[in-house]
C-alpha cells in the first residue's frame, strides 16, 4: 500500500489520479458519503488515462464512474463495465490511515490479510 495524499484533499463526488511506484495509474474516488474506491485510470475503450476525471454516481444503486470520453459506466466495486460485459477496470485496494489515503494492488491486500 502506498500513501498518495491527505483524505481532505479529495473532493466529495470527484476523483484524482495517482501514480504508483511501478508506474501504474490509479483513479481514486471519494463519494458523497465519504466512501473511497480505486480503479485503474486507463479507459480501455480509448486507451487514455482519463477515468479519474469521470463523473461518479449510481446506476440502479451500484456506485459507478462514467468515462469522460465515450461515457461508458464502470462499477466502482467490481470494475465491470455496465455497458459492455467483456470489459472491466482493474480494482485497487484503498484505505485511510491517520488521515492519509493509501492505495495498493488488491493482491497485496489479500497476501497481507
Amino acid at each position: 500500500m502506498q500513501t498518495i495524499c491527505a483524505f481532505s484533499r479529495l473532493i466529495p463526488g470527484r476523483g484524482v489520479a495517482a501514480l504508483l511506484g511501478d508506474g501504474t495509474q490509479v483513479a481514486v474516488f471519494r463519494l458523497a458519503d465519504d466512501s473511497l474506491y480505486a480503479v485503474s485510470n486507463l479507459d480501455p475503450f480509448m486507451d487514455a488515462n482519463v477515468i479519474s476525471r469521470g463523473l461518479v454516481g449510481d446506476r440502479g444503486g451500484e456506485p459507478v464512474v462514467t468515462s469522460p470520453l465515450l461515457k461508458q459506466a464502470f462499477s466502482l466495486k467490481t470494475g465491470a463495465c455496465l455497458d459492455d460485459e467483456t470489459v472491466a477496470l482493474e480494482v485497487f485496494a484503498v484505505e485511510v490511515l491517520d488521515g492519509e489515503v493509501r492505495v495498493g494492488a488488491t493482491s497485496d491486500v489479500k497476501a497481507s490479510a
Binding site: 500513501t3 498518495i4 495524499c5 484533499r9 473532493i11 466529495p12 463526488g13 470527484r14 484524482v16 489520479a17 495517482a18 501514480l19 508506474g23 495509474q25 481514486v28 463519494l31 458523497a32 486507463l42 480509448m46 486507451d47 487514455a48 488515462n49 482519463v50 476525471r53 469521470g54 463523473l55 461518479v56 454516481g57 449510481d58 446506476r59 440502479g60 444503486g61 456506485p63 459507478v64 462514467t66 469522460p68 470520453l69 461515457k71 459506466a73
Partner: protein, 830 residues
C-alpha cells in the same frame, strides 16, 4: 424492353404518384416532363416562402429508382396513335401516360391585366417576381378573397406592403364559409391592417405615373397601388389533352372515371387537372387519393377513387379557419362570439343524431375531432364544441385522422401498438401528418390514448423533466445538488442529472461553477474548463468576441501555442483553438492568456459559444448596419450563460448574409431600418434554417427580445435540446413564441428580463476565478501525488508541421483514399 411510363407534370400529386408507383411496381421505366425549372415542391406551404423558408426547403424532390425527371422541358404535343409525347427537344414513347399538369391561375379578362406589376400567385417563380417587384414599394392589391387570395395577402404583408383585398363575392372565403363566418374572418383580417372590400370586382387596370390604378364595378371606387395579384381561382391545365382529342369537361378538366382513366384507356389524369366524373378538386388530398388509385391500377390492381373529403383547416393570417363535411344542412346550429372573434357552425341530420359537417373560425381546436366524426355521432356536447370548451371524447376507429393521406384512427392505433412511440415514427410508418400537418396535435393525443407515455424524465434518479427541475430550483431557491436529490430524487445521481443540475444552478447565477459542491457536478469538460480530447489532453479556446482581434492578441496566442507546443486551428466560430494541452499546463497557459486580456471562451460548456459577424458597415461597401459591434455586444452580454445545450449566434450586416446567421440558434440580419431576428437555426445532424421572429427592430428591442428568447429557452427546454428542436416542439411554434416573448401573453417577460439582468450583473471570467484561487488550482495536476509528472501515455507525432495525438497517421490511413493528383492522372494516361 421494359414498360415505358410518361408523366406530364411534377407537382405534389405527380410526386406522390411517382413514390407510389415505384414502390408498387418498380418495373416501369418512368420519364417525368416538368415545365418548371425545379422539381416538385410543397405548393400548400407556398406562402412560407415569404416567411423565410427557401425554395430548397419547400422541395419535395427525392431520388426515385427508375425515374428520370426532365426539368424545364414541358410536353408540347402528343401523338396518341403512335403513343409518343413530344417536347421541344425530345420525344418520349409511352405505354401508359399520366397527366398531372395541375392548374394555372385564372386571370379574368380585364383590360390592363398584362401590365407590368400585375402577377398571379401559383409558382415559386411567381413569388420571386412578386418579391423583386415589391422592393421599395408600399402598396399591393389582391384580387380574390378565397383561400388563395388570403394567402397572397399574407405574403404581401410579410413583404411589408399595405395590403388591400378585393373580393367579388359578398363575403370572404365564400366557398368554405357562410356569411357570419366570413364576417368574423374579415374582422380578424382588418385588425392586421389589411383593408377588405367585398362585393367588388376590378374592371380595368391602367398604368398611371409609374403606379397602377384599378377601377371597379362600383362607381367612384378605384384603387391606386404598386402591385396587383390575381388570386381569383385556378383552372385545370387541360390544353394539351384538348389538343390531342382527349375528352375534357364543359368547365374544363380532363374527364376521367373513378379509376382516373381518361377517354383514352392508356391515358390517366390525376390531381387538379382531372375532372373525375365531371368534378375537379382543388385540394391536395383528393389528388393524393387519385395518385394511389393510378399507381395501383398500373400494378394490376382494381382500386377506385374512394370519394373526396373536402375538409380544410388553415391558419390564414394568423386566424384559424376550418370547414368539414357539409357546408349547410337540415339542422344547423351556430355560435358567434364577436368579443373573442370566434364563430362555429355545426350541421346535423334532421333527427339531430348524425354530424354532417360545419365550420370554425377563430378557434379550430375541435376540428380534428369534428372532422373525424362526420357521418357519426356528435362527439360531445354542442355547447362545448361550439363554444370552444374542453372536449373529451374518443374517436371511432374508422374516423379519418389525416385527411391529406387518408389515414384512419384505427391504422394509427395499429402503428402505435406495433411500436411507433412518437410522432416521427407514426409519420414514417403511416404517412399521417406528412402533408399539411394539421393532424399532428391529434397524433399526440392518440399516442397518449394508446398508452404511450412520452417520458421526459432526466434519468433514473429524477422523474422530473429538466424544465421541471429548473422550476423547482428557481422557486425553492435550492443551491445544492444534494438538497435537490434528497428532496426531489433518489439515489446518488449520475452523469446525466449532475451536469443538468449544474447547468441549472449556473443559469440561475449561483457563483463560480467550481465553487463548493458544484465542483463535483460538472461534466469533465466543465470541471477543467477545457474540452477533453481523445488522448486525455485538453483544448484551450479563449473568447474572441465577434471574431475581432488585435494583432497584439494574435501574437500572444501564437506565443502561448509555441511555448506549450499546442496545435492551432482557426474554428468555424471565428476564433482560434489550441489543442494538446496537458491538464497540469492549463493554469500556466491561462495565466498568460488572462494577463493578455483574454477570457474563457466556454468552448467546454453548454453555454454561449460565439457570435460570428461579417465585416459590417465599417469596411464592407454593402453593409447596412454595424454587424461587428452588434456581434461583440451580444457575445459580451451572453458570455458564460449556461443553457440546456450549446448556443451559437451570428450577425450579418446585410441580406447577403455572409455570417450565415440563419444556421444559428439566434441569428441577426441587418436591414435598412434595423435588424431582423431569426431563431431556432441549426447546422449539425439536421440542418434547419432559423425562423423569422422579428423584423426591422431597433437595437434595444432586438437585445431585449434575445434576452427573453434565451431565458425562456433555458427555463423550458429539455436536457440537450437545441433551440431548433425546442422551437419545433413548442405547441404553436414560432407564433406562440412571439406571443410569449414579444406580446407577453403569459405575463412572464418581466421575470425573464430579471433573470437575464442577474446573469449579466453576475458574470465573471471562470478562468480568472481559477488562477486566482489556490484551492481550485490544486485540482489541475496530472497526479495527486506527483503534480508535475506528465502522463507518459500522452504522446504526439508531427503531421503537416504541427503536433497531433500519436496514432493520427495510422488512423487516417486505415481507409486509404486515392486522390487524383496530377502525376497519377498523367501516369494513367500513359
Amino acid at each position: 424492353m421494359s414498360k415505358q411510363l410518361v408523366v406530364i407534370g411534377d407537382g405534389m400529386v405527380g410526386r406522390r404518384f411517382l413514390e407510389a408507383v415505384t414502390q408498387r411496381d418498380p418495373s416501369w421505366e418512368i420519364t417525368v416532363l416538368c415545365e418548371e425549372p425545379r422539381p416538385a415542391y410543397d405548393r400548400v406551404r407556398l406562402s412560407a416562402f415569404f416567411d423565410g423558408v427557401s425554395a430548397e426547403e419547400l422541395s419535395l424532390a427525392s431520388d426515385l429508382p427508375g425515374v428520370d425527371v426532365k426539368l424545364g422541358e414541358p410536353a408540347v404535343s402528343i401523338a396518341r396513335t403512335s403513343k409518343v409525347v413530344y417536347t421541344d427537344s425530345g420525344e418520349y414513347p409511352y405505354d401508359k401516360l399520366v397527366f398531372a399538369t395541375g392548374s394555372y391561375a385564372f386571370v379574368p379578362p380585364m383590360e390592363g391585366a398584362d401590365l407590368e406589376g400585375v402577377f398571379v400567385y401559383r409558382t415559386i417563380d411567381d413569388l420571386e417576381a412578386i418579391k423583386a417587384h415589391s422592393e421599395g414599394r408600399r402598396h399591393g392589391v389582391v384580387i380574390g378573397g378565397g383561400l388563395l387570395g388570403l394567402e397572397a395577402a399574407n405574403a404581401l404583408t410579410l413583404l411589408g406592403l399595405e395590403t388591400q383585398i378585393v373580393e367579388f363575392a359578398p363575403w370572404l372565403m365564400a366557398r368554405q364559409l357562410d356569411e357570419a363566418g366570413g364576417g368574423i374572418l374579415k374582422q380578424h383580417i382588418e385588425k392586421l391592417g389589411i383593408t377588405v372590400d367585398c362585393a367588388t370586382g376590378g374592371s380595368k387596370i391602367e398604368a398611371v405615373d409609374g403606379r397602377l390604378r384599378m377601377e371597379t364595378n362600383r362607381e367612384g371606387v378605384a384603387f391606386d397601388t404598386d402591385l396587383i395579384i390575381f388570386a381569383a381561382g385556378v383552372r385545370p391545365r387541360d390544353q394539351l389533352a384538348r389538343e390531342c382529342g382527349i375528352e375534357v369537361g364543359e368547365r374544363g378538366g380532363i374527364i376521367t372515371d373513378t379509376s382516373c382513366q381518361t377517354s383514352d384507356p392508356d391515358v390517366y389524369a390525376i390531381g387538379e387537372v382531372a375532372a373525375m366524373e365531371g368534378m375537379c378538386f382543388g385540394l391536395v388530398a383528393p389528388g393524393y387519393s387519385m395518385a394511389e388509385v393510378v399507381a395501383d391500377r398500373l400494378a394490376g390492381g382494381e382500386a377506385t377513387f374512394p370519394g373526396a373529403d373536402m375538409s380544410t383547416k388553415l391558419k390564414l393570417l394568423g386566424v384559424d379557419v376550418a370547414q368539414f363535411g357539409a357546408f349547410d344542412g337540415p339542422l344547423a346550429t351556430t355560435y358567434l362570439d364577436p368579443v373573442n372573434g370566434t364563430y362555429a357552425k355545426i350541421v346535423l341530420s334532421d333527427d339531430a343524431t348524425t354530424l354532417l359537417g360545419g365550420m370554425l373560425v377563430g378557434n379550430a381546436e375541435p376540428y380534428p375531432l369534428l372532422r373525424a366524426s362526420v357521418g357519426g355521432k356528435v362527439p360531445g356536447t354542442l355547447a362545448d364544441l361550439l363554444g370552444g370548451g374542453e372536449v373529451d371524447a374518443a374517436l371511432p376507429d374508422a374516423a379519418q385522422v389525416c385527411s391529406c393521406n387518408a389515414v384512419t384512427k384505427g391504422e394509427i392505433m395499429g402503428a402505435i401498438h406495433e411500436g411507433c412511440h412518437d410522432v416521427g415514427a407514426i409519420k414514417a410508418c403511416t404517412k399521417a401528418g406528412t402533408s399539411c400537418g394539421s393532424c399532428i396535435p391529434m397524433l399526440k393525443q392518440l399516442l397518449t390514448e394508446g398508452g404511450v407515455e412520452v417520458s421526459k424524465a432526466v434519468c433514473e434518479h429524477f422523474t422530473q423533466s429538466r424544465a421541471e427541475l429548473f422550476d423547482i430550483v428557481k422557486v425553492t431557491g435550492i443551491t445544492t445538488f444534494s438538497e435537490l436529490i434528497t428532496r426531489y430524487g433518489t439515489g446518488s445521481g449520475c452523469d446525466l442529472c449532475k451536469p443538468t443540475a449544474a447547468s441549472i444552478l449556473a443559469s440561475l447565477s449561483n457563483g463560480h461553477i467550481l465553487e463548493g459542491e458544484q465542483a463535483s457536478l460538472q461534466d469533465t469538460n466543465d470541471h477543467f474548463l477545457a474540452n477533453m480530447q481523445r488522448n486525455g489532453t485538453y483544448s484551450v479556446v479563449p473568447r474572441i468576441p465577434g471574431g475581432e482581434i488585435t494583432p497584439d492578441k494574435l501574437i500572444v496566442i501564437g506565443q502561448v501555442a509555441k511555448e506549450f507546443d499546442l496545435y492551432t486551428k482557426i474554428t468555424g466560430g471565428q476564433r482560434i483553438d489550441m489543442f494538446g494541452a496537458r491538464v497540469e499546463d492549463l493554469p500556466k497557459i491561462w495565466r498568460k492568456l488572462v494577463d493578455a486580456g483574454f477570457e474563457s471562451g466556454h468552448a467546454y460548456g453548454k453555454a454561449l459559444r460565439t457570435v460570428k459577424s461579417c465585416v459590417g458597415t465599417d469596411w464592407c461597401r454593402y453593409g447596412v448596419q454595424d454587424s461587428v459591434k452588434m456581434a461583440i455586444d451580444l457575445e459580451l452580454r451572453y458570455r458564460g450563460l449556461r443553457s440546456p445545450h450549446k448556443l451559437k449566434s451570428a450577425v450579418s450586416g446585410c441580406a447577403r448574409e455572409c455570417a450565415e446567421a440563419r444556421g444559428k440558434d439566434f441569428g441577426i440580419i441587418a436591414t435598412e431600418q434595423g435588424w431582423n431576428l431569426y431563431v431556432g437555426g441549426n447546422g449539425g445532424f439536421t440542418p434547419r434554417h432559423a425562423d423569422l421572429l422579428l423584423s426591422d427592430v431597433d437595437s434595444a428591442t432586438l437585445v431585449r427580445t434575445i434576452d427573453r428568447f434565451l431565458m425562456f429557452y433555458i427555463s423550458t427546454a429539455d436536457r440537450l435540446q437545441r433551440t431548433s428542436k425546442w422551437v419545433e416542439a413548442l405547441e404553436g411554434g414560432i407564433d406562440y413564441l412571439r406571443e410569449v416573448i414579444v406580446d407577453d401573453r403569459l405575463g412572464i417577460c418581466d421575470e425573464l428580463d430579471a433573470l437575464m439582468e442577474k446573469h449579466v450583473a453576475n458574470y465573471a471570467d471562470e478562468w480568472k476565478g481559477v488562477i486566482d484561487d489556490p484551492e481550485k488550482l490544486e485540482r489541475f495536476v496530472s497526479f495527486v501525488n506527483a503534480p508535475e509528472a506528465p502522463d507518459p501515455k500522452i504522446e504526439f507525432e508531427t503531421v503537416r508541421g504541427q503536433k497531433f495525438p500519436a496514432g493520427t497517421t495510422a488512423r487516417s490511413h486505415a481507409a486509404p483514399i486515392l486522390l487524383g493528383t496530377p502525376s497519377r492522372l498523367a501516369s494513367e494516361r500513359n
